[in-house]
């Protein structure tokens, strides 16, 4: 079965892109391939100028560690570690001891000062997600991938998370690629890609507003299947033919 077909996209640095589409449209697969979590059976993925296809598992892991950040829908944190330890984990895994205050600063940035020593079980869902964002940002990655980051949160907590992502783009020119099915979330992005049946079928600016985005999603129909390729390049992340 082909999950993704002839997807050709490019994500410029400092942009916030949302990917939408009905279930099974291939949006998660796109994210996984673009992030180097999964390997595309054909085509090319280039992250921050590095072609992912030929990398060994070890090299791919290092690339992810250095250039890519992740935020998942749920189960984002290692339950045994405190918030600060979770945030410091990517640095430690890279063999680097975090500078004094580095972790605390990132946690403060996501509004969690004073919560450094709390474990995930002692934090609310929204707070956990903010720790996850802090962890994704701490290594200053080229791209941040978010997979339904608000899916498991209530409206208020979700809005907080989206505000954080938006700030990261505006303040630090962070590149973000977010998969979502929530039009409100997609409306925070700079542009919205619509996927159907493994293909990019349409595109709207985020400023089009949640209502138009929702309408667009509803109208999406399945189209023909063709072959897929995924690609990113030096100036950020991209998925191209």
């Amino acid at each position: 079965m082909t999950a993704l077909d002839r997807v050709d996209a490019r994500f410029e640095p400092g942009t916030f892109t949302a990917v939408m589409g009905p279930s099974g449209s291939g949006k998660s697969t796109l994210l996984h391939c673009a992030a180097g979590l999964d390997r595309a059976s054909g085509g090319e993925v280039i992250i921050d100028g590095v072609p992912v296809g030929g990398l060994s598992e070890r090299a791919l892991t290092r690339l992810r560690r250095a250039r890519v950040g992740f935020v998942f829908q749920a189960f984002n944190l290692v339950p045994a570690l405190t918030a600060a330890q979770n945030v410091a984990l990517p640095l430690r895994l890279a063999g680097r001891r975090p500078h004094r205050g580095e972790v605390a600063a990132v946690l403060a940035e996501v509004g969690l000062e004073g919560r450094e020593r709390h474990r995930p079980s002692e934090l609310s869902g929204g707070q956990q997600q903010r720790v996850a964002i802090a962890r994704a940002l701490v290594a200053r990655p080229a791209v941040l991938f978010a997979d339904e980051p608000t899916g498991a949160l209530d409206a208020t907590a979700g809005a907080g998370v989206l505000r954080l992502l938006r700030e990261a783009v505006d303040r630090h020119r962070q590149t973000i690629l977010m998969v979502t099915h929530d039009p409100l979330a997609a409306a925070t992005a700079d542009r919205v890609l619509f996927l159907a049946d493994g293909r990019v079928v349409d595109e709207l600016p985020g400023s089009a507003g949640a209502e138009r985005i929702a309408l667009h999603t509803a109208r999406l129909e399945a189209t023909k299947t063709v072959s897929a390729a995924v690609r990113t390049d030096g100036s950020g992340a991209a998925v191209t033919r």
Binding site: S28, H32, L37, D38, E57, R58, T61, R62, R64, R65, A66, F70, F72, Q73, F75, N76, L77, V78, P79, A80, L81, Q85, L89, P90, R92, L93, A94, G95, R97, R119, R135, A136, A139, D147
Partner: protein
């Protein structure tokens, strides 16, 4: 990178201790067993006999070169006297005294008293008393035959003793400050079979030689002795411990070594199964680590770090616990004849350190497979809602299982075609292979077996639930049933083999003697000449010979022949000197009838003897045994006429005697069996309990759903209990089945070896006990998580 792994490992260990409880308990017990056993073992060091306490340098005859420690050669009395005279005249040496020893045992009311084996070296020359610093506290030294100096009796008293000649009444001329019977030097030389030790006393004093004092003297002694003997000073003197004591230590060491090996093996087994299960349960967490940038190597190191921390922690607690328990075992071990009297446990830091280290290594070996598998978890697993239940049968099981089954079955089928002496070993090997195969294939075998066992209850609600959840959770059931299978199978096999072997040995031994009555030693190491002649029989004392032929030397037990070479039909011995070899010795020396070989007797004398024949046992004319081994005793006498009561002997029907012999050996074997099976069953309990604890905890949502569907806590408990018992029973049935099949093959091998029909003995009691232990531990482990939910 390492620091990161250690930090993360420590955090997980601290946060998720219950997950590591199985590893902790297994390593704790393993290290405790190893530390305790090693402490006992290291405390049991050979010691020079106390009677050489004042002799810092001991000289023994040269090694006979047979490669066997138990083979010793002796100096003749003349050689010993010559060497002692030369050594005594060296500067700094105050005296060099030969210690010819012989068998003496005190008789009280016609019965031999004291330790039979120790009595073999209880008679000494008076001059050797000085080597132990023993002095007369009253009276005078013995001067002629029939006089003795001993402890505890006043001069002028008489004492009844038993020697190799027979009962004697000795006059006490002096009271000695140390143990042993001291007779006049020429008397001792006459009674002893050669000399095995020359003890030296030095002007420098009795202090341990080696730290400066006496070094020059030792060097001078070495130069003088040359190739005529071996000079032992310092710790080297300890090798003079009597063989009987060494043998007791050796028996104890066997048990301790077996415990250490089994403990280590079982720990690896439990740790690996615990870690595999735990890794499967935390797939998402490990996937998350991979997703945020942990390389496969880092995941592997994380698992290693966690396990190492747990193992170290468990070891640091387990080692002192084991060492603390060791002194409690000293007395039982002395009581069961596994350590010599006076054995005391000393503190052994090396044992503790070694046990902790071994625990660490063993735990890391156990986690290796799980860590390798965990490192291959793809990062995407962090996103999967529920990781799919891994298939029960891995490709490795499909390959190894049938392979072991075919190899085991093939080996079992080929047993009748193998040479006799290989058959029982091959049978045991085949059984081990079949048990391994059954454990590997258990996920496949369990399904039909569960259907059969659960059939009677298939129409009740609980019966249906139990049956179905067992059949769908094959992997879980297999991880409970497989250790039970292995343990029950191991128990049936080992206990059954021993019982069957004992029956076989009994039949085999009885066949050696004509039906009737035997005169056997009664609290003595053998029968005296007088005890035998009193029955109208000729004493046939057993001795040991060192036989050299074509450059090869071997030590063999030999008996005195009265009638000439057995089975040659030559009739009465033609008076000449000759030797009969048994098949094995003849083959070892490459000697055949007609060859002339060099024979060294117990007294150190060397002669050339012609090999008259190759028969069932090594024999020399009985006159030669008497002449060259005056201290030799007769093992037993087959009575043809009426029995005459004698000191140090008793009468037994052949059957009774054989049963006693087998029982004596069986007692030790049973002790070993109980220790080993107990340890195995204990570890199985831990493994099964731990698996169920983790598995049941993971099934809480399922039980929650059951409750919502209207099941009460009691019903949930019954379901869990029934499931557990079903799994244990399945394992036990499978294990017993495989072991019994193998036992049947082993029985056939034994029967062929003995040449008689042997009953198949299946040890039902111990099998039932082991199954019950497993069932009890498993049920407890399974219901605890259910109850905790409340």
């Amino acid at each position: 990178m390492i620091a990161g792994a250690v930090g993360t490992g420590w955090a997980t260990v601290r946060h998720r201790f219950p997950r590591f409880a199985g590893t902790f308990v297994a390593v704790f017990l393993g290290v405790a067993v190893v530390a305790g056993a090693a402490t006992l073992h290291l405390s049991s060091q050979p010691q020079a006999p106390a009677r050489y306490g004042q002799s810092p340098v001991l000289v023994t005859p040269p090694d006979p070169g047979t490669g066997q420690d138990s083979d010793r050669r002796a100096w003749t009395a003349r050689e010993a006297a010559g060497l002692a005279a030369r050594l005594g005249s060296l500067p700094g040496v105050t005296a060099a005294v030969a210690d010819p020893w012989f068998y003496v045992q005190r008789l009280v009311a016609g019965r031999a008293t004291g330790d039979a084996q120790a009595a073999l070296v209880d008679g000494h020359s008076w001059s050797s008393a000085a080597l132990g610093g023993y002095r007369l506290t009253a009276g005078r030294p013995p001067r002629t035959g029939g006089e003795v100096a001993v402890a505890g009796l006043s001069p002028g008293a008489t004492t009844d003793v038993l020697t190799s000649a027979g009962p004697e009444k000795w006059l006490v001329t002096g009271t000695v400050s140390g143990p042993g019977f001291y007779v006049a030097d020429h008397e001792a030389a006459r009674r002893a079979s050669g000399v095995h030790v020359i003890g030296l006393t030095l002007a420098a004093g009795a202090g341990e030689v080696g730290d400066g004092a006496g070094r020059a003297e030792v060097a001078a002694v070495r130069a003088e002795v040359g190739a005529e003997g071996v000079v032992r000073a310092g710790a080297d003197r300890d090798s003079l411990e009597p063989d009987s004591v060494t043998r007791i230590r050796w028996l104890g060491a066997q048990l301790l070594i077996a415990l250490v090996m089994l403990g280590a093996f079982a720990t690896v087994f439990v740790v690996s199964s615990t870690c595999a299960l735990s890794a499967a349960q935390r797939r998402r967490e490990l996937g998350l680590l991979r997703a945020i940038g942990a390389t496969p190597g880092q995941v592997r190191r994380l698992m290693y770090t966690e396990t190492a921390l747990i193992a170290l922690f468990a070891g640091l607690l387990g080692a002192p616990a084991g060492a603390a328990a060791a002194p409690l075992l000293a007395e039982p071990m002395v009581g069961t004849g596994l350590e010599p009297a006076g054995f005391a446990v000393t503190s052994q830091p090396t044992a503790l350190a070694g046990a902790i280290l071994l625990g660490l290594v063993v735990a890391l070996a156990g986690v290796a497979a799980a860590a390798r598998r965990a490192s291959r978890i793809p990062p995407l697993d962090a996103l999967r809602e529920a990781a799919a239940d891994p298939r029960a049968m891995t490709p490795a099981r499909w390959v190894a299982g049938p392979f072991c089954a075919v190899a085991g079955a093939g080996l079992l089928a080929s047993v009748p075609a193998l040479p006799l002496e290989l058959r029982s070993t091959a049978g045991l090997g085949a059984a081990m292979l079949l048990l391994t195969a059954a454990a590997l294939l258990s996920p496949v075998l369990i399904v039909p077996l569960v259907r059969v066992i659960a059939r009677p209850w298939r129409n009740t609600a609980i019966g249906m639930l139990v049956r179905e959840s067992t059949l769908t959770g094959v992997r879980r059931v297999a991880s409970t049933a497989a250790p039970v299978l292995a343990t029950v199978g191991f128990t049936v096999l080992l206990a059954g083999t021993v019982a069957t072997a004992e029956a076989a040995v009994g039949i085999d031994e009885s066949a050696k003697y004509p039906a009737g009555t035997l005169l056997v030693p009664d609290g003595t190491p053998g029968l005296s000449a007088a005890a035998v002649t009193a029955q109208g029989a000729e004493p046939t004392p057993s001795t040991r010979l060192l036989i050299t032929h074509g450059g090869a030397t071997t030590g063999v037990p030999a008996s005195g022949s009265v009638t000439g070479p057995a089975g040659t039909g030559d009739g009465p011995a033609p008076g000449g000197e000759f030797l009969v070899l048994d098949r094995y010795t003849a083959a070892e020396l490459d000697a055949r009838a007609g060859d002339v070989v060099r024979v060294r007797f117990a007294d150190g004398a060397v002669t050339s003897l012609p090999v008259r024949a190759v028969g069932a046992e090594v024999q020399v004319p009985v006159e030669m045994v008497r002449r060259h081994d005056p201290d030799a005793l007769t093992r037993l006498v087959v009575l043809e006429e009426d029995a005459v009561a004698v000191p140090g002997g008793r009468f037994l029907p052949v059957q009774e005697y054989v049963r006693e012999e087998v029982d004596e050996e069986g007692r030790l074997v049973d002790l070993f069996l109980v220790a080993l099976i107990g340890l195995t069953a204990g570890y199985t309990g831990i493994a099964v309990g731990n698996t169920l604890l983790m598995a049941t905890a993971a099934r809480r949502p399922e039980f929650g759903a059951l409750r919502l569907a209207g099941a009460g806590t009691g019903q949930v408990l019954r379901i869990v209990t029934a499931e557990t018992l079903l799994a244990v029973l399945t394992g036990a049935v499978l294990g017993t089945l495989v072991a019994v099949i193998s036992l049947a093959g082993i029985r056939a091998a034994f029967a062929a070896e003995v040449g008689a029909e042997i009953a198949l003995v299946i040890p039902w009691t111990i099998t039932a006990a082991v199954t019950a232990i497993c069932a009890a531990l498993a049920t407890a482990a399974a219901i605890v998580p259910v109850l905790r939910r409340g």
